[in-house]
């Protein structure tokens, strides 16, 4: 499985601007997959991405896996009465015709049990599993810890 993921990653590693690659599965387009440099391996790292559903039926991101971390999970930052907590998210809805972001301060992938420290400029694959569309692997680019996101020409934020 790990081998398959790595092979897929190599196939997908076509030259492109940093964290600006696009991969598709069914009606879903996955782009701007990025992470932040980690300090060592003890702290959980993050995974952010943008998913566009151009189809007519709702889908949902139900899991992530990566050779970069032993326990990757989906979480959501929730602020209630000014207090931030980070509950585990069973799935992230990707409604028909909408773009959903895993982004700072909202839904995010939490990469626990890092196999190696993430350094700025590193690239690692993450396989996203969707309820309907199935699985797809995207390359995640590691940006500096203080980065607020990739700088892509098409990033319409």
């Amino acid at each position: 499985m790990k081998h398959l993921i790595l092979t897929t990653a190599l196939v997908l590693s076509a030259p492109a601007a940093f964290a600006c690659e696009t991969v598709t599965v069914g009606d879903l387009t996955i782009q701007h997959a990025w992470s932040k440099a980690s300090i060592g391996v003890d702290r959980p790292a993050v995974f952010y991405v943008e998913i566009t559903n151009s189809g007519s039926s709702d889908d949902a991101l139900v899991g992530i896996s990566t050779p970069a971390a032993g326990m990757p999970m989906l979480h959501e930052t929730v602020v209630t009465d000014g207090i931030a907590s980070m509950p585990h998210a069973m799935s992230v809805p990707v409604p028909a015709g909408q773009t959903v972001q895993l982004a700072p301060g909202g839904y995010h992938g939490m990469l626990m049990g890092l196999t190696a420290a993430l350094k700025e400029g590193d690239r690692f694959p993450v396989t996203l599993t969707f309820e309907k569309a199935g699985a797809v692997t995207a390359n995640v680019d590691v940006l500096p810890l203080r980065s607020e996101g990739p700088d892509c020409a098409d990033a319409g934020q």
């Binding site: 932040k36 602020v79 980070m86 203080r146």
Partner: protein
Amino acid sequence: MRGRRAVILGLGGAAGAVAFMLGLGAWRTRNRPAANAVLPLPVSNMGWQLTDHRGQTVRPTDWLGRPVMAFFGFTWCPDVCPTTLSAISGWLEELGAEADRLTVALISVDPERDTPDVLADYVGNFDPRIVGLTGPEAQVARAAEDFRVTYRKVPRDDGDYTMDHTAGVFLFYADGRFASIIDFHEDRRFALPRIRRTLN
């Protein structure tokens, strides 16, 4: 005819004024903490003693005389804390030398893991004007109490733990009076003018 037009114009003007006042009211309410929120103490009434990421002892009295921007967090925090630190670094850069008069502090709610050395490694990734503070659990608890901040240890399935904590950024005037809170999800554009007001 002319009289009627004057009345219409007058009514229009009055409606405009009312709309303006309502809008102003809404704007002012948004910038004010909720009425039921308990406000932080003035810095001069605080009673904690912490250690910064260079190993120096810091007390609230050390903060008096300079405006303060402080927030609570922890370095094992993957999303909220780096996001807040990135935002603060961005504000400081935009303010440039103006922000040199500002004391900027991250107070750890996780002193068990966040030693001064660990904090030094962490804050080193952001604007060099940001100071990390930690200390014995009782002193962190005292600081949280003085700021009216809540934090809580949350065990995780894998035996590790994370922390829930108040995510806002607190601003104080140079004389120690509480100025305002920048909420975590607040639009960044509103933050800068408020920081400037604290500086002047």
